[in-house]
Each structure stands twice: as structure tokens, then as C-alpha cells.
């Protein structure tokens, strides 16, 4: 019997684990599994497999581990796990299942000197087969060699000053505000040399993080930065501080200071001709400015309150102004050809969800020849299209190789096409407009989320002929953010509804549907499904027949800490409602139309949307729309109120509940509203109607 020990530091691919386990069991091995698996589902899956034993490794908290490579962190944390040591002693084969577990297996292999130690699944099977052939048994001894002991000892001595600093900034001391304040004293004092101030600042910040005083840690770094004159060091400290806040899921109070430091550094590096560093720092400033925690994973965004003010800082940077300088084009776009079909290149970066109907229509159109290009389908093109830092560097004049590579990759497409339609105004739009398009007409579509990113600020709109939005309020916001869209080089701007085939949604509702609210798509914080729970509660206070059906995948709590926080609160509030049968979680589906047959009211509870496809499809199915006045746009010239008919849009959960009750006063009333909603949706947003707008966009009025 050969004992095999699997060690993993993260969730392994369970199907491969299962397959390998079958092979090893078939070889007569006894396989035990020790790992750190964060996913509960994966742990449950593992426990169903035919392991001789499984064990969740015990993690000791070791402060200095934080600074080490991940592999060493894992070992420092699990090395005192007695289960692991005992199984490693007996093992004939030690297997690391992932890269970060390699060091742990290396250390175990130093102690069990006869075991085979391998990395990977296939090597594990090979090792067992070889051991069966050669028949070497484990020695039973489990001691590290003297050389390793000596090396570890020497290392501990070398670490002594750090260790001492850690001792005097130990967790119990730093947990007290007195300890924190005492340690900040040397950081406040003027005249301390930078070479001393910065290491102390970093050490105190580390200690405060370790003690759980994360706000204090951020403040310490900011304080240290404030006393440092070196611009690179200052920017680095502030960037670290702000990123720590973002990791905690909060919008950093010192964001402006950090962004300004990075912009100053970018400007300086540009003036020195160090364009790569200038572009990197500028990009870092933009990343902090448009971080998802601030704009995507929360219920508010500082960007919408006063867009002009929000972007003023970055637009004041000289480096950014260089990047934003319109370069124009030598020739205007040629009119559509009269003697042959229009060559239309439809392109996107992976996400073709909103292109499908467009592709099919123009593929079959006699006056159009279509090519489709997913820039992510070719590795080099994907890399080049997403390299926004190199775009910036090139515009500063420091990356001719990038310009040449882009030219080589994209020019053949531009030469072929009469018109390019790029879906999503994201990184590929910045790369595309780095090229003079010749006489090819360039159309870019901006959906919604892009307005909250850095990309529209880096697109050279002087090389874009038409910019398409999916709603007026998105156009308003983007225009107020991006100066080029207000200037003489601005492209023509259009609002065109998304291409949606709503015909298949008109199906008969089930008898209970009029007491079922539906929310399609709950995968992002911006959907704010808690608002839907509030509406449901208010309805059920009056009539407990009301239920809420949630369609779509769950939020990804790993997207950010902010997302995790929201997800946690949502799950807590959801659980009793699910148990009571008031909420049904239908999960992700390919058949939204089928699910909608059970839904009598379709909700849009988001804080922001472009046009909310889920709501439009729901309306087309005859579900009566109940729309929150999306707070990001509420009260502005265009908003949900101007996108949807009078009466659909409401301010509060109570008003939403009232609308449901009023519509549902009788079955006939609900049916009337249902028919009207379906009719409105079909006659306004269906592809049979909207396609005429796209014909006009691509072909003009004449065809």
C-alpha cells in the first residue's frame, strides 16, 4: 500500500481531483487530502470522493508571513498542523496540487527524505506507478536535515531587527489607540531622514493592519507620505494607502491626494522623457480614480453628482492632456459605396451579447458584406487591444513599436472595411483610435458601464465618426465627462435601442403570475436587489400571496470587498424570505422567456442602467413594469422617467408597492396593464422596429 498525500492551498479543479483519485485508487494507493479550500461547495464535493481521509489544514496566523511569497506564507501557516506532519511522515508520495503548495511539499520532503515529492496530477500518478515498480518504502523518520536547520537559523538571525520591530509593535500594543499614537510620533517629527521615516511608516502600517486597525494603517502611510519630498516615494506610499482602502471596500478619504501625487509624478516623468514611467503612473492615477469600488460596486458614485468637477483633476494633468489631444484624420470617411455592398466590420472584445441580431441581419442583407472580429480571439490582437498603458505611452511619443504593431494588426481590417462598428467603448476603442482610420468610417457604441471607466477619456473621438448610445441619459453623462465630446472634433451622436428579439417573449402567463414579482439579473451591486425585497415586504404586509422570483446568477462576492459586503447583507435578508417561500431563486437560465411566464410584474430596482434589457424583455412578455427612478440619473434632464412611459417609474419602494396594488386591484386591470406594456415594448424596442434605425446608421436613407 502506497500512502499518497495531496496538499493544496486553494480550491483545486475538482473533476481532475476525482479523475486522478480514481486512477490512484485503481493502482492500490491510499490517498489522503489536506488542503485549504475556501469554497464550501468544493469541500462538499471533495468529501463525496473516495479519499481515505480529508482534512482542512489548520492555519496559524503568522504576521511576518504577510510579506512573504504566497508559497512561504502557506507553509508558515500550516507547518504546525499535526495531521499534516503525521500524514507527511507516512507518505510514499507527496503531491502539491497548486503552485502555492509547492513550498509546503518541498519542506515536507526535506523531513520525509524517501518519499517522492511531485507537483501536479499526472506526475502523482506516474510517481505511484514508479514506486510500485521500485518498491521503496518510507523510512518513518521525519526530521529536517541539519543543513536546513542551519539555514533557517541563519535566516532568523538576519531577520532580527525586523523581528524586534515586530515585537515592539505587537498586536496587543497596536490594538490600543495609545500604541498607535505613540508610534506615529516619530512620523510627525520634522527632520527625520527619509531613509528612516519611510521604513518606520511601513512597519507601523503593517503592525496596524495586523492589529485590525486598518484605517489607522492607511492614515499612517498618508502621514508618512506627507513628510516625504521624493515624488516617486510619495506617490507609492499614497497609492498603497488608497489601495488598502479599496481592498476594504471603502472609498478612500485620501483618494484625491493620491491621484494628484500620481499625476504629478506622471507629468514629471513625461517632462523628463521617461514615457513608460509617465504612462504607468498616469494609468495608476486613472485606475484609482475610476476604481470599481467607487463606481461599480456601490449604490452611489461620486462621478454622477458633479461629473465636470469629478474629472477636472485628471484633465488638468499635462500628461493626460497629451493623451487626450485629438490627432484627427487625414481624410474624412468615404460615403457608402454605390457600386458594391457596404463592407461592414462588426467587432468587439469577447462580449458579443448585443451584436448577435446585428450580425445576423447584415449577414443576410444584400447590400452589406459582413466580417466579424472578436479581438480576444487572437492572442496578440487581444493583448495589443487591451494595452491602454502602451496607448498612453505611444501618444506621449514613446512607443513606436506599439504603433507599428497596432498598425500591422489592425490596418488590414481597416483597409477592408468601409465601416467599422466597435461594440463597447472600452480598451479596444482606445487602441483603435490610435490609428488614423483612412477613409473608413468608425462607429463606436457605448452601453453604460464604460462611462464609469477611464476608457472614454482615452478614446480619440476626432477619429470616430459616430458614437452610439443606448439611452439619452448615458449620452448626457458621457458628454459631461469627456471634453472631446463637447468640442469641435466631436463625432455625431445617436441614441439607438439595443437589438432585441422580443417576439419570443409574448407567451401566456400562468394563473398565479399576477402575484409574482420578477427581477431578472441580480449579479451586480448596481441591481440593488435589496430594494426589491423592500417592495416585497410592503406588499406581503397587505397580501401574502405576493412572491418575488429572482432570475440569474448570484453576485460574485469576490469581485471586491464592497461587493462582498453587499452580497452578505443581501443573503442575510434573503434567507428568511426564501425559507418562508416568499422568494424563489431560479438561478441562471438560457430560457428567460420561459421563466417570465410565471412573472406578472417585472422590476427594475437598479441604481443605474443603460436601458435595462431584462425589464424590456419582461414588459414584452406582458409583465407589468415597476421601475425605480434610477438614483444615478434621477432628477436629471434624462433618466428612467424619460426612457419609459409615464407611470412605470417610481421613487420609493412604497410607491412601487402602491403601483402593484393599484394595477392588481382586479385581474382585468392587471390584464389591461399587461397588454399595454407588451404592446409598448414590442412596438418600441423589438428588433423589427429598431433595425430600421441601424439601417439608417449603416446605409443612410437611400437604401
Amino acid at each position: 500500500m502506497i500512502d499518497v498525500l495531496f496538499v493544496c492551498s486553494k480550491t483545486p479543479p475538482m473533476s481532475v481531483v476525482a479523475d486522478t483519485l480514481d486512477k490512484l485508487n485503481a493502482e492500490g494507493a491510499r490517498v489522503v487530502f489536506g488542503g485549504l479550500i475556501p469554497s464550501r461547495a468544493a469541500r462538499e464535493h471533495r468529501d463525496e470522493l473516495d479519499f481515505a481521509e480529508t482534512h482542512d489544514l489548520v492555519q496559524a496566523k503568522v504576521r511576518r508571513a504577510v510579506q512573504l511569497p504566497r508559497g512561504e506564507q502557506v507553509w508558515l501557516r500550516v507547518r504546525s498542523d499535526s495531521w499534516l506532519r503525521e500524514r507527511a511522515r507516512k507518505a510514499g508520495v507527496l503531491v502539491a496540487l497548486d503552485e502555492q503548495a509547492v513550498y509546503t511539499v518541498w519542506q515536507l520532503a526535506q523531513r520525509n527524505r524517501t518519499a517522492k515529492a511531485v507537483y501536479g496530477f499526472a506526475p502523482a500518478v506516474n510517481a505511484v506507478r514508479e514506486l510500485k515498480r521500485t518498491g521503496v518504502a518510507p523510512s518513518g523518520s521525519f526530521r529536517p536535515p541539519l543543513s536546513l536547520v542551519a539555514r533557517d537559523g541563519a535566516r532568523a538571525v538576519r531577520r532580527l531587527p525586523d523581528a524586534t520591530a515586530r515585537l515592539v509593535t505587537a498586536r496587543p500594543i497596536m490594538r490600543r489607540s495609545l500604541g498607535e499614537r505613540l508610534w506615529r510620533l516619530p512620523l510627525r517629527v520634522p527632520g527625520v531622514p527619509t531613509g528612516l521615516r519611510v521604513p518606520i511608516g511601513r512597519r507601523v502600517a503593517e503592525a496596524l493592519n495586523w492589529a485590525g486597525r486598518r484605517g489607522g494603517a492607511t492614515y499612517t502611510l498618508v502621514l508618512t507620505a506627507s513628510k516625504v519630498s521624493d515624488p516617486a516615494l510619495k506617490a507609492e506610499l499614497l497609492e498603497t494607502a488608497v489601495n488598502q482602502d479599496y481592498q476594504r471596500g471603502i472609498v478612500p478619504p485620501h483618494l484625491d491626494t493620491a491621484v494628484q501625487a500620481l499625476l504629478d509624478l506622471a507629468d514629471l516623468r513625461q517632462s523628463e522623457g521617461r514615457y513608460e514611467e509617465a504612462a504607468r503612473n498616469l494609468r495608476n492615477a486613472l485606475l484609482l480614480t475610476f476604481h470599481r469600488v467607487a463606481h461599480i460596486d456601490g449604490l452611489t458614485s461620486p462621478l454622477t453628482a458633479d461629473p465636470g468637477r469629478f474629472v477636472k483633476r485628471i484633465h488638468s494633468s499635462r500628461a493626460m492632456q497629451t493623451v487626450m489631444t485629438p490627432r484627427g484624420r487625414l481624410r474624412p470617411a468615404a460615403p457608402p459605396p454605390a457600386d458594391r455592398p457596404l463592407r461592414l466590420l462588426l467587432t468587439t472584445n469577447e462580449n458579443a451579447n448585443f451584436l448577435r441580431h446585428i450580425i445576423h441581419r447584415y449577414d443576410a442583407h444584400p447590400d452589406v458584406e459582413v466580417r466579424y472580429l472578436d479581438v480576444a480571439s487572437e492572442e496578440v490582437l487581444k493583448k495589443v487591444s487591451r494595452s491602454d498603458q502602451r496607448v498612453m505611452q505611444e501618444r506621449m511619443g514613446g512607443d513606436d513599436a506599439y504603433a507599428a504593431q497596432l498598425e500591422q494588426l489592425m490596418r488590414p481590417h481597416l483597409d477592408w472595411a468601409d465601416t467599422v462598428f466597435l461594440d463597447w467603448c472600452a480598451a479596444p476603442a482606445t487602441a483603435l483610435t490610435n490609428l488614423d482610420p483612412g477613409d473608413t468610417r468608425i462607429i463606436i457604441r457605448l452601453h453604460s458601464y464604460e462611462a464609469f471607466t477611464r476608457f472614454p477619456h482615452m478614446v480619440d473621438f476626432s477619429r470616430v465618426d459616430d458614437l452610439v448610445f443606448v439611452a439619452d441619459h448615458v449620452q448626457d453623462l458621457t458628454t459631461s465627462l469627456v471634453p472631446q465630446l463637447r468640442g469641435p472634433h466631436a463625432p455625431r451622436m445617436h441614441v439607438l435601442h439595443n437589438a432585441m428579439d422580443l417576439g419570443g417573449f409574448a407567451r401566456e402567463k400562468t394563473p398565479d403570475a399576477r402575484f409574482n414579482l420578477g427581477l431578472v439579473g441580480i449579479g451586480q451591486v448596481a441591481k440593488d436587489p435589496l430594494w426589491a425585497l423592500e417592495v416585497l415586504r410592503r406588499l406581503r404586509e397587505r397580501d401574502d400571496r405576493y412572491r418575488l422570483l429572482l432570475v440569474g446568477g448570484d453576485m460574485n462576492p469576490r469581485a471586491s470587498r464592497a461587493s462582498k459586503k453587499y452580497s452578505k447583507q443581501f443573503e442575510e435578508e434573503l434567507e428568511p424570505l426564501v425559507e418562508a417561500g416568499a422568494v424563489l431563486r431560479l438561478g441562471p437560465t438560457d430560457d428567460v422567456a420561459g421563466k417570465l411566464t410565471d412573472i406578472g410584474f417585472i422590476l427594475s430596482t437598479s441604481v443605474r442602467e443603460g436601458c435595462h434589457v431584462g425589464l424590456m424583455e419582461g414588459a414584452a412578455s406582458g409583465a407589468v413594469p415597476v421601475v425605480r427612478d434610477w438614483p444615478f440619473y434621477a432628477g436629471k434632464a434624462h433618466s428612467a422617467r424619460t426612457l419609459y412611459p409615464e407611470g412605470w417609474v417610481l421613487d420609493t419602494p412604497e410607491a412601487a408597492a402602491q403601483r402593484v396594488l393599484q394595477v392588481n386591484v382586479s385581474e382585468e386591470s392587471w390584464l389591461d396593464h399587461s397588454r399595454l406594456a407588451a404592446k409598448y415594448a414590442q412596438s418600441t424596442w423589438d428588433w423589427s422596429v429598431v433595425s430600421a434605425d441601424f439601417d439608417r446608421l449603416f446605409l443612410g436613407e437611400q437604401r
Binding site: 479543479p13 473533476s15 481532475v16 479523475d19 486522478t20 512573504l68 511569497p69 504566497r70 508559497g71 512561504e72 507527496l94 502539491a96 503552485e99 509547492v102 513550498y103 511539499v105 518541498w106 519542506q107 520532503a109 517522492k116 515529492a117 511531485v118 507537483y119 501536479g120 496530477f121 499526472a122 506526475p123 506516474n126 539555514r151 469577447e350 450580425i359 466579424y372 472578436d374 480576444a376 480571439s377 487572437e378 492572442e379 496578440v380 490582437l381 504593431q405 500591422q408 494588426l409
Partner: protein, 420 residues
């Protein structure tokens, strides 16, 4: 390479092959002894103790530094390799390859050296032998070096270290072999001064990989579609194919209980047999999809014989040809294509009566191709099948390589070193 060596031997040459040890191949994507058994016994094989350290899976061979941070260690390894030769994975082999070639020449003087890439580092060995002993050499580039066959773009400029090496090595080479016309055109345009030395030598297929018989398709028990090859395409493409497969099964009664067997190498080193592709395949188990690992060379023909239709998934575009396309055609089965519409393989497949056409990588188009292939599998006439085999016939590797070797020998008029 095996067929090239065999053809030289068959034409009377005394052949020595310099390669790496079996154990080192094992690290890569595994060893198939049934393949090496087919090497002509007259061919002498010199195996060098070179290993791809980046693919090492034996943790006992790791230094502590490597074990603590494998990714950083590999980065520094690549940097070290680049110091020897501009190829991050193999640059470090340069010295050993050069010494080995000089050693072989010393013990058995060579009239000709043929180097097959990758690794491109072997070019340095050819150059060293040329410089020290003026042994003429030819380069079998397969996919080419200065062309990025995946991105369909120049991989490096002429004024780079790689560019200078390529120009130097091709300047004195007596012949350059590449796998298809677009790559040949690239080289002819890049180096017009020796355009006449550039030859297309297609990969072709081994006759013994073609099934001798085929089973009658049985829709009752379920049609079987197959993929055989190394999975080098992105996970996104595989996902599209699997989505299309699911769509096709739902809409086409002939496919309702069909299976899709995926065979071949996935990943190398520690990641052999694992990774995102394997996860995707397992996740599609409910749709009749399975992953059965690699197939031994000796079992290839039987594997094709068991299938009713083939799925051809490939990255790249107009510069990319896979060796598999020839083998697929020789199987005489319907072929579903999932690759760029302007892929070079299209030039080879065009005219194959059981091919469902090049439709790009759109999910719906691939689903339609699955449906069409299912019908072809059960409805194809004997004449169609015979025409499919006839279409493939001209790509027999033995024929292609025999002609290529003959041409090389004739061009050189090399008589020295022949044993007959």
C-alpha cells in the same frame, strides 16, 4: 521528424538524430513509445540529457528559492536562457546542442545537417557546425519563426536579436522548409534574395493513422463525434464549441443521444491533464461529452474507426496549418470546423466532400455544422466516402517527405556519407 529520418535512411543515408532523453519528453506532454518504435532501425539516435527545467514536476529537483516562488524562478530562468540565445524556453540548451553536434560530427563526419524547429536554439548548433566545419545545413522551420502564426503578424523585426539570427542562419542555409504557402510567401517576401530556397513541405498524415475500416453509424445507440489533438486553443473557443454542441443536440434528433469524445494532450508539466479545458469538458458531461486523455500513436487508427464524425478545433488564421487536418481527412469522416473563417486549413479542406465548411467561430454556425455533420454521418454515400479518402491521398506523409528529401539530396548532389 521521424518520417524525415526514415526517408533519409530509406534513400540510403546514414542518419544520426540528436534529440533529448525520453524522461525529458515525458515532462513535456508525455512519451509515446509506439511512435519511437517506428523509427527505422538503421537510424542512430543520440539522446542528450537536457530537460525543460520550467516543466519540472519533481519537487526534489527544486531549489528552495524555486519552491518558495515557482513563478518568479521561472521568470529568472527565462531571463538567463535569453542571455544564451533569444528563445526564453530553450536558450539555455545552446551550449549542449552545439557540443553534441560537434561531437557527432567528430565521430562520424556529416555531409548535411537538417535542423527542425522548435526549439530555434538548435539553429545555433547548425551555425556552429557550419562555422567550424562548413557542414551544409537545411532548416525545417515548420511554422516559421519570424511569423506569429496565431496573431497573423510579424513576430519580430529584422533589427532584433532574433531577426539577426534568422537572417544569418537563412543566409547560408541550402534549403528552408515550411508547412504552407502563406508562411513560404512570408519568407520569400522577407528574404527575396533566397526566395528560391524556400519550399513548402506539408505535414501530411501517416498512412497507419488512417482507419482500415469504419463502423456503421448507429443513431439508435448514439452517433459518436471525436476530437483528437493537442488542445492549444483558448478555453473560450472550446466553450463556444461545447455550447454549439449542446444547441445542436437539442434541435437535431439524430444528435439527441450523440456523444462527443475529446482525446489528446491538454497541458504540460505540472498542468498535464488539468486546467480550464478539462474543467469545461467535465462540466459538459451531461451533454454526452467526455475527455479520455491522449491516444497512443498505435491506437490512432482504431480511435478514428470508432467515431462517426470529427470536430476540428484550431486557433490561428491564414498562416496556421495543423498536422491534424491531414489525418482528419484521411479518416474519411464528416468534419466540423471550428476555426477562423480564413484559416489556412481551409485551403487543404476545400473539396473534401464530407467537410461542413468554414463558418468561423460563431456558436450558431458551429451548431448548424454539427447538424449537417450528423446527417452526413448517416447519409453519406460510398462514393462520397471514397472521394473523401481520395482527397486526402495526396497528403500522405511518406510521399511528401520522400519527395522533399529527394529534392534536398538532388539539389545538393551530395553523395558523400551514403552507405549504399
Amino acid at each position: 521528424m521521424r518520417e524525415t529520418a526514415n526517408q533519409f535512411a530509406a534513400q540510403g543515408w546514414d542518419v544520426t538524430v540528436v534529440t533529448i532523453e525520453d524522461e525529458s519528453w515525458e515532462l513535456d506532454s508525455g512519451v509515446d513509445h509506439t511512435l519511437s518504435e517506428q523509427v527505422d532501425p538503421r537510424v542512430e539516435v543520440v539522446k542528450l540529457p537536457l530537460r525543460r527545467a520550467d516543466l519540472e514536476t519533481d519537487i526534489r529537483r527544486f531549489s528552495e528559492r524555486r519552491a518558495a516562488d515557482p513563478a518568479a524562478w521561472i521568470r529568472s530562468l527565462r531571463e538567463r536562457n535569453l542571455e544564451a540565445f533569444p528563445e526564453p524556453t530553450f536558450g539555455g540548451w545552446r551550449g549542449a546542442l552545439e557540443e553534441a553536434v560537434l561531437r557527432v560530427h567528430q565521430s562520424k563526419p556529416a555531409d548535411l545537417l537538417l535542423t527542425s524547429c522548435v526549439p530555434y536554439t538548435s539553429l545555433a548548433a547548425a551555425w556552429r557546425l557550419w562555422e567550424e566545419a562548413r557542414v551544409p545545413y537545411a532548416v525545417d522551420f515548420r511554422d516559421g519563426w519570424s511569423i506569429d502564426v496565431l496573431g497573423a503578424a510579424e513576430a519580430f523585426g529584422r533589427d532584433t536579436e532574433e531577426g539577426r539570427w534568422e537572417e544569418r542562419i537563412l543566409g547560408s542555409a541550402i534549403s528552408l522548409w515550411v508547412v504552407n504557402d502563406p508562411i513560404a510567401e512570408h519568407y520569400r517576401a522577407r528574404y527575396p534574395e533566397f526566395a528560391h530556397r524556400v519550399h513548402v513541405v506539408r505535414n501530411g498524415y501517416d498512412a497507419d493513422s488512417a482507419p482500415q475500416s469504419r463502423r456503421a453509424p448507429d443513431p439508435e445507440s448514439g452517433l459518436v463525434f471525436g476530437y483528437l489533438g493537442t488542445a492549444t486553443f483558448p478555453g473560450g473557443l472550446l466553450q463556444t464549441v461545447l455550447d454549439a454542441w449542446r444547441d445542436a443536440r437539442q434541435r437535431e434528433p439524430l444528435l439527441a443521444n450523440a456523444r462527443f469524445e475529446f482525446r489528446g494532450h491538454i497541458g504540460s508539466g505540472a498542468r498535464r491533464g488539468t486546467g480550464g479545458h478539462v474543467e469545461l469538458l467535465w462540466a459538459a458531461e451531461a451533454d454526452g461529452v467526455s475527455y479520455g486523455g491522449p491516444v497512443l500513436k498505435a491506437d490512432v487508427a482504431d480511435t478514428y474507426a470508432w467515431w462517426d464524425a470529427l470536430v476540428y478545433i484550431l486557433i490561428g488564421g491564414r498562416y496556421m496549418t495543423s498536422g491534424k487536418v491531414y489525418e482528419y481527412m484521411a479518416a474519411g469522416l464528416p468534419i466540423v470546423s471550428a476555426h477562423a473563417a480564413d484559416h489556412e486549413s481551409v485551403n487543404v479542406l476545400k473539396g473534401h466532400p464530407l467537410w461542413t465548411g468554414s463558418r468561423g467561430v460563431d456558436r450558431e454556425a458551429i451548431a448548424e455544422a454539427f447538424v449537417q455533420a450528423a446527417h452526413l454521418a448517416v447519409e453519406a454515400t460510398d462514393d462520397q466516402r471514397a472521394a473523401a479518402l481520395a482527397h486526402a491521398e495526396r497528403f500522405r506523409r511518406e510521399t511528401i517527405m520522400a519527395a522533399a528529401v529527394q529534392r534536398l539530396a538532388a539539389d545538393l548532389q551530395l553523395e558523400k556519407g551514403r552507405t549504399r
